[in-house]
């Protein structure tokens, strides 16, 4: 369990830094709600819920990225439309299926005890994939975060890179749902990176500290949830938030 936690923590920190730089802090939340609809559909059709969550998340990532490129509406507005639609769909399917409250709570707030071998392996594979892509894309994504047009003039295919980033985010959200829960994935991505940025030490340090805070939050969160018999997700987020509060004292 700690292994899954560590992989999720590491991946969350890496992706989280770019989520913050790109000002996409709402997006993981939206993906998580899309994933919830995917889970409900998975239960309805008797397919793997993680696969359902991933597919739904990917479709939403694609939809959001497409509409954002068309510049029809602001990104925040697009995200709210998608996310509320997905949530409504999820609730109706769940009501229809008469999913027990216990199960639903598990998906909302995480229940690592119910993690299957399949999900375990998937989490680790997605984590490794994310790390690999990340190593190759690091410079490119940083340039895009700095200025999209400058990146494009250099020959970077900005739209394609944005799709890759959103896809990766959607996959990550789907596999970590079981551990952290739908509602608390966004904070797990955002809070450690934000905490690290408070130290104002430059980008490299933001990264290293982000990974450190994220790993610590996830691992201690899992340990505490075992000891005090509480849900993993809230424990992780409370610890991350405590680090954030602490970092404010260092803010220069």
């Amino acid at each position: 369990m700690i292994v899954v936690g560590a992989v999720i923590g590491l991946t969350a920190a890496m992706l989280g830094v770019f989520v913050i730089l790109r000002k996409l802090s709402y997006f993981p939340d939206a993906l998580a709600h899309a994933a919830l609809a995917g889970i409900a559909l998975g239960l309805l059709l008797h397919i793997n819920v993680v696969a359902g969550a991933a597919v739904f998340g990917l479709v939403m990532a694609l939809g959001v990225a497409y509409l954002e490129r068309r510049k029809i509406l602001g990104l925040d507005t697009i995200i709210v439309i998608f996310f509320s639609t997905a949530l409504a769909l999820a609730v109706i399917i769940a009501e229809f299926l008469r999913v027990s409250e216990d199960d639903l709570m598990g998906y909302l707030f995480g229940d690592i005890s119910k993690i299957t071998d399949e999900t375990f392996i998937l989490s680790i594979l997605v984590g490794l994939l994310a790390i690999l892509i990340f190593i190759f894309k690091f410079k490119i994504w940083t340039k895009i975060s700095f200025h999209e047009d400058l990146a494009a003039v250099e020959g970077i295919k900005v739209a394609r890179e944005n799709y890759i980033f959103m896809f990766l985010l959607a996959l990550f959200v789907a596999v970590s749902l079981r551990v952290v829960g739908t509602i608390l994935i966004g904070p797990l991505l955002v809070i450690p990176a934000a905490t690290a940025n408070n130290f104002r030490l430059g980008f490299k340090w933001m990264f290293l500290l982000g990974v450190l805070f994220s790993l610590a939050a996830v691992i201690f969160g899992i340990l505490f949830s075992g000891i005090f018999e509480i849900s993993v997700g809230p424990a992780v987020v409370l610890i991350a938030a405590a680090f954030f509060g602490f970092s404010l004292f260092f803010k220069r």
């Binding site: 730089l21 690091f138 410079k139 700095f146 400058l150 490299k204």
Partner: protein, 237 residues
Amino acid sequence: MKKVLLSVSDLVVRIGGQTLVRDISFDLHKGDILALIGPNGSGKTTVLKALLGLLPSSGQIAWKEKVSIGYVPQRFAFDATFPLTVSELLSLRLKEARFWVHTKKSHQLALDALRSVGAERLAHKRIGALSGGELQRVLLAYALISDPKVLFLDEPVAGIDIEGEETFYNLVKRLSAEKGLTIILVSHDLNIVYKYAAEVMCLNRKMFCFGSPREVLTPEALRETYGEEISGFKHGH
């Protein structure tokens, strides 16, 4: 006679059924400084972006040789929390430098680029903490560090005081002479155009003049480009 570097004919930019600019045709020579002038909303930035390939366009944009391009975009509001330091930003553009490995060589290259724009003291500052004028210098260094042959500057000094503006253009002019750079810039300060540009293009949805500023910036051309508001300008100059 200098060699033609860029030949543009019948450039049209149309977005969402609206024609933003049309009838743009000109030749740009190697080593020249070309200024695009025109009132707000006349399409200066649009033309620049179309030439950079950032906007879809029809017509011909023909570079006569393979060129590397540096670009300093219009001044943009920068998020004060952006974490990169200036030297981290510059090292992103160095092919030989790996981001995580801080080598003497990459550090030196970043410092050299900053020195060439008079900003070496900014190396360890965070981008988010720079003032407008400092950011423009850093962006110029970012454009120059990859050793471009052509430089695109989109109102690089908007919002900077007049002395800062003079210093910036003196710097650009010196760099252009030293490195043989060809420069396309957007400006709405006619004094700057007279002082620094070899060629000028008057623009207001379409091209009203192109050539050397002293020849083509006639009162008629300016009136056509700007409407009546500027017709008194020549007298005051």
